[in-house]
């Protein structure tokens, strides 16, 4: 099964989504990412028990922060799937890509370009 997902998505591998901290997501936005989504295992199936649950809470925190500073909380999203679901992986990628294209570029990037 060779599935295509949008080529503008950069995948960062982590051992568990529990490793993904608020600061990692913020730094991605600070460096100009237009959107960030975290794809973890199904809830209840985390090999480390609660890694994906922590990730979800952190994604929610980042969402609130982005809303507060007018960057847009919708730019960050948590998804869950099991490791055999390649099709869902591409669906998430397409869904997120469409959402971000609709929202437009990260306003930080525009502001930074202007300042430069």
């Amino acid at each position: 099964m060779r599935l295509q997902y949008p080529s503008n998505i950069q995948i960062i591998l982590v051992p568990c989504t529990g490793k993904v901290d608020v600061i990692h997501m913020l730094h991605a936005f600070e460096k100009g990412a237009d959107g960030v989504y975290v794809v973890g295992c199904m809830e209840g199936d985390c090999h480390f028990n609660s890694g994906n649950l922590r990730a979800r809470k952190r994604v929610e925190q980042v969402r609130k922060i982005l809303d507060t500073i007018n960057i847009g909380g919708e730019r960050v999203q948590m998804y869950n799937l099991s490791s055999s679901e390649g099709l869902r992986f591409t669906q998430f990628a397409i869904e997120m890509n469409e959402r971000i294209l609709k929202l437009g570029p990260n306003p930080i990037k525009r502001a930074a370009d202007k300042a430069a």
Binding site: V22, L26, E30, I69, N70, I71, I108, A111
Partner: protein, 227 residues
């Protein structure tokens, strides 16, 4: 430890909005343990502020630094050589650190980045509860190691009061009655007779009623300063 909670980012933005060179200063002690003002929280706040100001079209320099402590001269001295580069500091230390920082560096405004809440324990990650109010005269020997000053809503010294119901305090069913705990603990220690001994009136002059407090230990003080 001293337990603090994060301040809403909107409030911090309001504090520093007129400055363009800001140092976010964390503390490696209590506020790191309660995840309110350590290196990690410094990084998050700095990142949020950088993005906010950029988004507003403002050029603001935001730097990060975390000291071992902000309640001791020697650690605060570590920023002496850089402090003039900033026109504001947001200290994520407890209120003690914020004040000591402000006392030391008169020319730079220091803003609090956390709300300092109490002295307490980590019951579990993400849950901290109060244990001590620093009343200045510890009575824990008499109360089975459970403090009615910090844990009883009325600071009752010969409790429980009439509001104690099934182990809960009358202020809320989720608040454990400290005196219920004391009674159970004295029983478990086979010291229930002690419960019958009435506590005398407490001398509150060692608490805040006596004004700001200090501890003086002449045996530890530097002799050379006396002469």
């Amino acid at each position: 430890m001293i337990v603090a909670d994060r301040k809403p980012v909107e409030e911090i933005i309001e504090e520093v909005k007129d400055h363009d060179k800001i140092l976010i200063l964390g503390c490696n002690e209590c506020v790191t343990v309660c995840e309110a003002g350590g290196k990690k929280e410094v990084a998050v706040l700095a990142s949020v502020l950088r993005m906010h100001f950029l988004n507003q079209g403002q050029t603001v320099r935001i730097d990060e630094r975390t000291l071992q402590r902000q309640c001791d001269h020697e650690y605060l001295e570590e920023v002496r050589d850089i402090i003039d580069q900033y026109n504001a500091v947001v200290s994520l230390a407890c209120g003690v650190g914020v004040q000591f920082m402000a006392e030391k560096y008169h020319a730079t405004p220091v803003y609090p980045g956390v709300n300092t809440v109490f002295m307490g324990v980590t019951e579990e990650r993400g849950l901290w509860t109060e244990r001590c109010q620093g009343c200045g005269e510890c009575i824990l020997a008499r109360t089975g190691g459970i403090c009615p000053i910090s844990r009883c809503a009325k600071r009752v010294l010969n409790g429980p009061c009439g509001g104690s119901t099934k182990g809960s305090c009358e202020i809320h069913k989720d608040v454990v009655c400290a005196w219920q705990l004391i009674v159970e603990r004295l029983k478990a220690l086979d010291r229930f007779d002690d419960y019958e001994k009435l506590s005398a009136l407490k001398d509150w002059s060692t608490d805040r009623a006596g004004g700001p407090r200090k501890v003086v230990r002449e045996d530890l003080q530097d002799e050379s300063k006396d002469t």
